[in-house]
Amino acid sequence: MSDKLDFVVNGRAVSVTCDGTVPLLTVLRDHLDLRGTKFGCGTEQCGACMVLIDGKPEFSCSREAATVTGWAITTVEGLSNGGALHALQQAFLDEQAGQCGYCLSGILISASALLEKNRKPSRADIIAALDPHLCRCGIHNRVVRAVQKAATAITGARP
């Protein structure tokens, strides 16, 4: 069973021929070789697979690829712009917001969506946006600080 699926992934138009019932995550990792997005649970419970679908954070582990054909997808690889780190990535480095790092791609994606719609998120806003994400190492507070820092950096750069 093969379908032709078209997406705009990280700003680039791509076309994939595959079984359209596979998860979007499979298309990203196996067909497009974008392995930054992670498999965690396969049941939309941990957030490791989070991507942006037309700007909204969505789980990609069980979302059928054919249902998002024609849409714009952003993965962690699309956050940095031609090698320049996204303000969030820089802030995560500045705050050393990581231990094992497995949850980070998904968290960065959700945080980027938050900052797109809310330039000055409160601690509560950040927590609400990141609550779908599980982290087992315990870097939650560093992540919240990093998102706040990135928000400040972005508003400073774009008054």
């Binding site: 965690g40 649970c41 419970q45 480095l93 980070l104 599980l134 087992r136 190492c137 560093r142």
Partner: protein, 707 residues
């Protein structure tokens, strides 16, 4: 003083060239058998090496856990990596530096004292000699035994150790890279393995046609004994196959766990091997009031976010395995035994995975991939575990029951103290008790019979007995350890092993004693503590948390205290928790004071302490692996809730500066005290104590309603 006695890693790997090599100009290859499991060890070891060699951190190329070239250092566990692995690297690098300096001093006919090193270049009285490690490398043979006698630097002169060095692995990770899960060579073949639901289970029936249909793409089904693997070029096909196979498989025989598994009654009904350890005064001290209490914890799991993964390639009679295991050299040896290969034909290359907080399925995945690879020569087999199996078939952290008893003397202090423990072993990693402990190997026909199980010996920190003896001044102490060697599941290590439950029990009990005699819990602890470092940590935590401020709190709000020195030899940590309780616990604020001796990477240390606090809180507040119908019924994160962003309070950490004391392991230090502090805060807020973990809404309600 930093001791010059040879650490274990160095006695096991005594040749300098096993640790240090100058091959590529300007770069130093430093080997380590300790591996990155999310704790930042590679950065800390790099700091130590760069410091002693006088090179920049970016000149160090740390090769970690590659069995053909790295030293063999057992497992990365037990908070030993900096204290033992780091101490070895320090001694080796100091010795290598001395050998070069002495040699150059001879050549230049000057005193070694005139020579210094800067970025690997040698200076004489501050002027470049034109020589460096690399130009002199062929003059000095490093294939000699380490003596451990070269002088190491004084902490007061450190420029790199104890200073901030950003994590070396983080730049890749914020770009989504750097994980074993993402390695996909062109010749990759994907596999998933169907797991037995309990030990010894026999696969009575599996509808293979239905599995193939569910895969929606061609798959191979490999069956040997109870080992069943689905193999395909397509990863999604084998994922679908495995998912379909789980409910289709019909199992029989073996030893399914009974319905009451993990309860106090079940633990106490198991066959046990008993050991009594007495300490202190032989004769009973006259005492009065007796206080007794019993605590228990359920089965738990490590719950890494990424399921375990491994790759293996069998080519020209050699097996190459990529694994995020904690003991690459041990894994190599036991893979070889389980696959009946000479160890020299097996290479294990460590690559980073999701965080490891205990014995996970990384070793199992490595066996799975290796076993399948030997049936597909020339292909690289990539196996990843499924989330459900990570809950249901992984090594499990065991339930425990802990009974405490104290006799109080006339100063209200315990004059007689006893602890009684019921627990299966806390370690079944590969090789322990002479067993491979690899779940895939156990499923094969003619699998070796399992040797009888023991727990981690007390002299190596103990398993169930870890931190069972309090650090408090107790004139007379008895420990009764009922080790339960025949339970039907693979009980193994989770961060701290028995320590955090013991600390939960002991620290809860100390609060109960303080209540019984009408004293403040911190004041009471200090009356039982003479160790000055312990006192300082307790006092610091009380001070930063405003423990003695005496501010009135609203109903349902309280602070609680917990303290321990991990293993009674590693780091000291005291934790204060402030929480609200209605039906459930809401954490408001956590403070922690810790003394880890000389801290190599201060930000890494804080990160570890904070991670331990959050994980320790999650352990006691939420976590329990459940069984039903003979098997683990915990299958998803919904069944196994861990703390989330919205549960985490602000956390203040005070790291006590103690650079002239040896580095103490701290990765596990804050876990136990945090759980205890939560239990104690809850008891103060409720006026009643919950002694059976986890401290969930159901347990709180049941305790409130019980009379």
């Amino acid at each position: 003083m930093i001791s010059n006695a040879l650490p274990l890693s160095l006695t096991d790997n005594p040749i300098l060239s096993q640790w240090v090599a100058f091959k590529e100009q300007g770069r130093v290859r430093v080997g380590s058998g300790k591996v990155e499991i999310g704790q930042g060890i590679l950065t800390a070891l790099t700091q130590i090496a760069a410091e002693e060699l006088d090179v920049r951190p970016d000149q160090i190329h740390l090769v970690s856990g590659e069995t053909d070239i790295s030293p063999a250092e057992g497992f990365t566990s037990g908070s030993y990596s900096v204290a033992v692995g780091g101490a070895s690297i320090r001694l080796v690098c100091a010795e290598v530096r001395s050998l070069f300096i002495e040699r150059l001093a001879e050549t230049l006919r000057c005193s070694p004292g005139e020579l210094t090193v800067e970025n690997g270049r040698f200076l004489r009285s501050g002027k470049d000699t034109g020589r460096d490690y690399w130009s002199m490398a062929n003059e000095i043979a490093l294939d000699r035994r380490a003596t451990g006698t070269a002088p190491v630097k004084k902490p007061s002169s450190y420029r790199i150790v104890g200073k901030h060095l950003p994590r070396l692995d983080l730049p890749a990770k914020i770009a989504g890279a750097g994980f074993i899960h993402d390695i996909t060579p062109a010749n990759v073949l994907h596999a998933r393995v169907l797991r037995q639901p309990w030990r010894g289970a026999h696969l009575a029936a599996l509808d293979e046609n239905a599995v193939r249909k569910a895969a929606k793409a061609p798959i191979e089904i490999l069956r040997e004994g109870e080992f069943v693997a689905f193999i395909s070029d397509s990863e999604i096909a084998v994922m679908r196959a495995a998912e379909a196979a789980r409910p289709l498989a019909r199992w029989e025989g073996g030893t399914p766990p009974p319905a009451n598994v993990g309860t106090r009654d079940w633990l106490k009904a198991q066959k046990s091997k008993d050991k009594v350890t007495d300490a202190g005064q032989r004769n009973a001290v006259p005492g009065g009031r007796v206080v007794e209490a019993e605590y228990s914890r359920p089965f738990l799991t490590y719950g890494s976010i990424g399921p375990c993964c491994s790759l293996a390639e069998w080519k020209d009679g050699a097996l190459k395995v990529w694994s995020h295991c904690q003991g690459p050299a041990v894994l190599r040896d036991w893979l070889a035994k389980a696959l009946r290969l000479p160890a020299a034909q097996v290479t294990v290359l460590h690559r980073q995975g999701s965080g490891a907080y205990g014995h996970n399925t990384a070793d199992d995945a490595a066996f799975d991939a290796s076993f399948i690879a030997m049936r597909h020569p020339g292909r690289t087999i990539r196996v990843q575990w499924q989330r459900e199996d990570e809950f249901a078939a992984s090594p499990i952290s065991t339930a425990m029951a802990i009974k405490l008893r104290a006799v109080l003397g006339n100063e209200n202090k315990p004059v007689d103290w006893s602890i009684e423990l019921w627990s299966p072993p806390h370690a079944q990693r590969p090789g322990m008790n002479g067993n491979s402990n690899l779940i895939g190997a156990e499923a094969l026909p003619n699998a070796p019979k399992q040797n009888p199980l023991g727990d981690v010996p007390d002299e190596r920190g103990g398993g169930a007995t870890r931190n069972a003896i309090p650090i408090y001044d107790l004139p007379r102490h008895r420990m009764i350890h009922h080790m339960l060697p025949e339970v039907p599941m693979r009980t193994s290590s989770l961060r701290g092993l028995g320590a955090w439950a013991n600390v939960f029990a002991i620290e809860s009990f100390v609060d109960e004693l303080a209540d019984a005699v009408g004293e403040d819990p911190v004041t009471y602890r200090l009356s039982l503590l003479s160790d000055p470092r312990a006192r300082r940590v307790v006092e610091t935590a009380a001070q930063i948390s405003g423990w003695f401020d005496g501010k009135p709190m609203p109903d349902g709000r309280a602070k609680g205290f917990g303290f321990a020195r991990y293993k009674n030899i590693a780091s000291f940590a005291a934790v204060v928790v402030e929480l609200d309780v209605a039906e459930d616990i809401k954490l408001r604020k956590i403070w922690c004071a810790a003394d880890a001796g000389l801290v190599i990477a201060p930000d890494g240390a804080r990160n570890q302490l904070e991670g331990g606090i959050i994980q320790g809180a999650s352990f006691v507040m939420r976590e329990q692996v459940r069984f039903d119908d003979g098997r683990v019924s915990t299958r998803t994160w919904e069944d196994y809730p861990i703390l989330r962003f919205s549960d985490i309070p602000e956390i203040d950490i005070e790291l006590i500066d103690n650079p002239n004391e040896p580095t103490l392991g701290l990765g596990e230090a804050s876990v136990g005290p945090t759980g205890a502090a939560i239990g104690n805060a809850l008891a103060r807020a409720l006026g009643k104590r919950v002694r059976d973990l986890p401290l969930t809404r159901d347990k709180i309600m049941a305790t409130l309603l019980a009379e």
